[in-house]
């Protein structure tokens, strides 16, 4: 039996980003061979691409960070309270939240409030809050009761049990929830284009409206590439942060 628990070999893990970069390279190479008309030229240049990508990433990352900062402490509190009512409320709201279409939330918020970047950010946070909250709560509850009792029986205060035992043991589930939220956010940030929030959705929508396939393709492939890469990166973090021995 090995003395040290080995982490999975990381060479296999580089297949994904290599494949993504290859696809991007092919697409850009193809675009380079095209004669671009004025509309396409305005869109398919480095400046425009970088701007849209930056907007998209900011939306995704900032909203996910906000969700983490808001939802995880809330879940910890809900867990501490240990009330069945609270739990039932969280689960019910979570179910309703999951049944709600993202595009509906985005557009409703835009109608009721205003269009633009801030609205997109708020709707992203609102949309991802409940799944992360529910995931974190479930993760904390799944910690084995015997482990918890042993910890309290040894004299750990409730806070110590939370930080040293419950959170580390729940971390795989919590991280999985955050990873899903991140990937979701990339998708919903694409929809943000409908409410003038910018992002790569702009390219897709323009490409469709103006019947310029090249613009459409680059926008769609870029957004897909970002989503896949973020998912891959989140997976790496998940593996690294997961406590050994679990």
């Amino acid at each position: 039996m090995t003395v040290q628990l080995k982490r999975p070999s990381s060479l296999r893990h580089f297949v994904t980003p290599v494949a993504v970069v290859a696809v991007l390279a092919v697409v850009f190479a193809w675009v380079a061979t095209l004669d671009l008309d004025s509309i396409e030229a305005r869109t398919l240049n480095a400046g425009y691409l970088i701007d849209r990508t930056r907007e998209h990433l900011v939306l995704t990352v900032v909203s996910s960070a906000l969700v983490a900062v808001l939802a995880i402490p809330t879940a910890v509190l809900a867990h501490r309270v240990r009330s069945r009512v609270v739990r039932a409320i969280v689960v019910t709201l979570g179910n309703i939240g999951q049944a709600t279409p993202a595009v509906g939330v985005v557009i409703l918020l835009a109608i009721v409030w205003q269009t633009g970047f801030t609205t997109a950010l708020v709707s992203l946070v609102a949309y991802c809050f409940l799944p992360v909250l529910r995931n974190t709560l479930t993760g904390l509850e799944q910690v084995d009761a015997a482990t918890r009792e042993a910890a309290r029986g040894m004299g750990m205060t409730p806070n110590q049990v939370l930080w040293r035992i419950e959170l580390p043991l729940a971390s795989p589930v919590i991280l999985a929830g955050l990873r899903t939220a991140l990937v979701f956010s990339v998708g919903v940030a694409t929809i943000a284009t409908f409410i003038n929030a910018g992002g790569l959705g702009d390219m897709i929508v323009n490409g469709l409206k103006l019947q310029r396939f090249s613009v459409l393709l680059v926008g769609a492939v870029l957004v897909a590439a970002i989503a896949v890469l973020i998912d891959w990166a989140a997976g790496l973090v998940e593996d690294r942060v997961r406590p050994r021995g679990l």
Binding site: T115, A224, A227
Partner: protein
């Protein structure tokens, strides 16, 4: 704040309820068709790759990537080839449903205790027969859960399909967007969104029943 007033939502609904019902049925049809296709394809893939590590890893990774691609991007990418409307909608919904279904099929089949498979083989059953008459029924609850997850996903994603002239309640949601500033904008968007929510909850409820009644008697807890 601009539109925070439900101007005559009741009148709005009274006038358009036929529309709403029609769109809801379209939405339901789109979801049902794609789920049916995805289940057939997904379970088949699962049956073929569950015990072969390399094809299994490839299928799961491919399905995983499919679900990671943002829905608008996928719809847009399909449009030059498949046009607009029902076809690209169904195709992309099937794509998205594949991961939960394939993954749950594989997991469900693998979790069937080894000794059951062994005793079945010991009785003289071929491995295909064991797969279909022993493993598949035992894995069924897990598979149905996968279809249920896929259903929840597709109900939400189908709402975006309206942007590429697809069917369903997304039409109302986007109508709300395009009539931004007008009196009925909120009514349209709210009706569309709420109907999607209700439809999703309803479908989930149906799945709870389906799971219970299609699980073999001996397995029911």
């Amino acid at each position: 704040m601009t539109g925070l007033h439900l101007v005559r939502l009741d009148e709005f609904l009274a006038r358009r309820w036929e529309d709403v019902v029609d769109l809801t049925l379209q939405h339901l049809a789109a979801v049902a068709i794609s789920l049916a296709l995805a289940t057939a394809i997904g379970v088949l893939i699962g049956l073929l790759v569950w015990d072969r590590p390399v094809p299994r890893a490839v299928s799961l990774t491919a399905a995983g990537i499919a679900i990671t691609i943002p829905s608008l991007a996928l719809l847009a990418l399909l449009s030059p080839v498949l046009g607009l409307g029902w076809v690209p909608t169904i195709v992309s919904l099937v794509f998205y449903s594949l991961l939960p279904i394939v993954r749950n099929t594989v997991v469900g089949l693998r979790e069937v205790p080894g000794h059951l498979v062994e005793s079945a083989r010991g009785m003289g059953m071929t491995s295909t027969r064991v797969l279909l008459t022993v493993q598949l029924p035992l894995a069924w609850p897990v598979i149905v859960t996968g279809v249920r997850v896929a259903a929840q996903l597709t109900v939400g994603i189908a709402a975006i399909a309206a942007y590429v002239a697809g069917p369903g309640l997304g039409v109302y949601i986007f109508r709300g967007l395009s009539s931004l500033g007008s009196v009925n904008a909120l009514n349209f968007a709210l009706t569309g969104t709420l109907c999607v929510v209700l439809l999703a909850l309803l479908i989930d409820g149906v799945f709870v029943l389906v799971t219970r009644y299609s699980t073999p008697r001996g397995l029911r807890v």
